[in-house]
């Protein structure tokens, strides 16, 4: 190999650079109090979601949707049989709460994964292709970002009738990708200039190969970060929809619970029904936010406390 060729052998980053940074990030994360609180809360919710399968197995009257206690037919307060009381149809509130946790994770995570996947794909394409594709995609992103998601879904509900939960998730994802794509695009633009991409091009790599093998691994950590934020907005949107009465009537979500307590006029008399779902929604949002902030610190070295000398 000649001298020139040797000089051109620019080292591409490790195959999975994000794995090493993940380990490094974890040690930084561990020091962050907010992150730890956020994570523990999330673990608690996850446990709730898992436990949601238990009550109906104990006794069919605990089924959140269809369970009716033969002895109680209306709204009652907390008791030994029903730790959080019953709703207006005599259904157990605690089981509903646990089921709600399951729905929240399902909606949140699926919508987040979908919107981040879409946003990353669009962002990388726009950043890498540049020019026309870039302009068109970013204009599209701008337009979508202006739209209030909740109201759009409302309108779609008007046209298409009652929406099922997965349709809701899909629509949420379709309206949430623009934010992600902007950031990913920016990152792609920076990466495009890096020597290792140039080297790959010179070596004859196809565009697809460059995108997947070189750009994507470096862009993923950022994408992961954005997932945490997308999860919360998806959960809130679904909850708001359910609250207004446009959720999937077959799914018990926290928003749905609030709808019931509100519409059946029990909100003033039944704090045990009114408070738990709202607390859960707010708390899960808070914990994802804390997690996101901690991850922010992990990914952006400038924010780390240890580097601040004042």
């Amino acid at each position: 190999m000649t001298n020139a060729e040797q000089k051109m052998r620019v080292k591409a980053p490790a195959r999975f650079p994000w794995f090493e940074s993940f380990l490094e990030g974890w040690s930084i994360f561990k020091q962050n109090l907010l992150g730890k609180i956020g994570l523990s809360l999330l673990v608690m919710f996850a446990l709730m979601a898992i436990c949601s399968y238990i009550p109906p197995l104990i006794n069919p009257m605990y089924n959140p949707m269809t369970g009716v206690d033969p002895d109680i037919l209306g709204c009652t307060g907390p008791s030994w049989k029903h730790w959080l009381g019953t709703d207006f149809m005599g259904r157990d509130i605690l089981s509903q709460l646990l089921a709600g946790a399951r729905v929240a994770f399902m909606v949140g995570v699926s919508a987040a994964v979908m919107s981040v996947a879409l946003g990353t794909a669009v962002g990388m394409t726009a950043g890498y292709m540049g020019k026309f594709a870039d302009t068109v995609l970013m204009r599209l992103a701008d337009m979508i970002m202006v739209m209030p998601t909740l109201l759009v879904v409302l309108l779609l509900a008007a046209v298409f009738g009652q929406l099922n939960i997965w349709t809701i998730v899909l629509i949420i994802a379709l309206f949430r990708w623009p934010g992600v794509s902007r950031i990913i695009r920016g990152q792609t633009l920076t990466l495009k200039q890096r020597p290792f991409v140039e080297a790959a091009k010179v070596a004859g790599a196809s565009h697809m190969r460059i995108i997947f093998r070189h750009i994507m691994p470096n862009v993923l950590p950022l994408a992961f970060l954005f997932m945490t934020f997308r999860v919360t907005s998806a959960i809130i949107t679904e909850a708001a929809l359910a609250f207004l009465g446009f959720g999937d009537p077959g799914t018990v979500s926290w928003g749905m619970m609030l709808q019931w307590v509100w519409k059946t006029g029990n909100m003033f008399q039944a704090p045990y029904w009114l408070l738990p779902p709202g607390i859960c929604i707010s708390l899960i949002t808070l914990s994802f936010y804390m997690l996101g902030r901690a991850m922010d610190e992990v990914l952006d070295p400038r924010l780390r406390k240890e580097d601040q000398t004042d």
Binding site: E306, D307, T309, D310
Partner: protein, 317 residues
């Protein structure tokens, strides 16, 4: 009586890696109307020293020892309120990277006027603007640019505006920290010429800080060479520039190209600056020195007088 007399100045920083002395035992004096230049590579402590003179150290820095005697008063003994009054009125500063030294959302003229208004209660706003006009004339900025914002100025104009601002209160001393680093050579030359003019006109004392020894040699009567927080050579410009004594100064000079004289190879200085958290016991330059002595590594060097004011901190000289 010298205008400025710095005795045994030691400035330290507390960092996550430990405590370090960025400036260690520096002594120098400055007379009125004269200029003194400090040269050294990045991290040698020259900027820290400039900041310390103005009392502008960041929260994790502090003066550990020494005295800064300005017009017969020790600045380090003053209260924050007193220092605030000394700032700009007596000692002004021209910062490194003047590109960002001006507030982007305020008009330039207003910012220069502000410097005057802070220190003179009797001055009205209109009067201040008239003075700003005069200052702009002095530094060569068209008067109608006063109402513009910093981003509308070119690099050279910004630098001139910063100089005008420094002169606003007619200080006795100006500390110029790498004022021309970000400019292209032609503008750099112009600015330096203007500074020399202004110095003569107002009998200013200037402390000029730079990593570029040729600029310093051009501008200043005396030169101080700094390395790793210490002053290693000091003297009149001809002496230091033409007959350097300390190995570092020599190395510094040979790492710059010259237009005249023989064509010689540029010789970069090998090695790195020492760790200041745990500084070496002996001479700090020892590891990179081309002519180390036997005791250099273990014994701290002493000041050696060469001739007149010229002295160097070296055992081998």
């Amino acid at each position: 009586m010298p205008l400025l007399n710095v005795k045994n100045l030691t400035v330290g920083y507390n960092t996550k890696h430990g405590s370090l002395k960025a400036v260690d035992g520096v002594n120098f004096t400055l007379e009125e109307g004269e200029s003194l230049g400090f040269v050294g590579e990045s991290g040698c402590g020259k900027t820290t020293m400039g900041m310390a003179l103005m009392g502008l150290l960041p929260p994790n820095g502090s003066v550990r020892e020494g005295q800064i005697i300005f017009e017969d008063k020790d600045l380090l003994e003053m209260s924050p309120e007193q220092i605030r009054r000394v700032r700009w009125r007596k000692i002004a500063m021209i910062f490194q990277a003047a590109m960002n030294a001006l507030n982007p959302v305020q008009r330039v003229g207003g910012q220069v006027a502000e410097a005057m208004l802070v220190h003179d209660d009797s001055l009205g706003e209109e009067e201040a603007m008239v003075k700003v006009e005069e200052l702009f004339d002095l530094v060569g900025i068209p008067r109608d640019r006063m109402i513009d914002y910093p981003h509308q100025y070119s690099g050279g104009m910004k630098q001139r505006a910063v100089i005008a601002m420094a002169l606003a209160c007619q200080p006795k001393l100006i500390i110029a920290d790498e004022p021309t680093t970000a400019l292209d050579v032609i503008v750099q030359d112009q600015i330096l010429e203007e500074m020399k003019q202004l110095q003569k006109e107002f009998n200013l004392s200037i402390i000029f800080i730079s990593h570029d020894i040729s600029i310093v040699a051009d501008m200043c009567h005396d030169i101080g060479v700094m390395y790793a927080g210490q002053l290693v050579e000091y003297g009149p410009r001809e002496a230091v520039f033409e007959s350097p004594v300390h190995p570092y100064t020599k190395a510094l000079l040979s790492s710059f190209p010259t237009l005249t004289g023989e064509k010689t190879d540029l010789v970069p200085i090998p090695g790195e600056t020492p760790n200041l958290v745990t500084p070496p016991a002996g001479c700090r330059f020892c590891d990179r020195c081309t002519q180390p002595g036997t005791t250099c590594k273990t014994e701290p060097p002493e000041w050696v007088a060469i001739s007149g004011e010229h002295k160097a901190l070296c055992c081998r000289c």
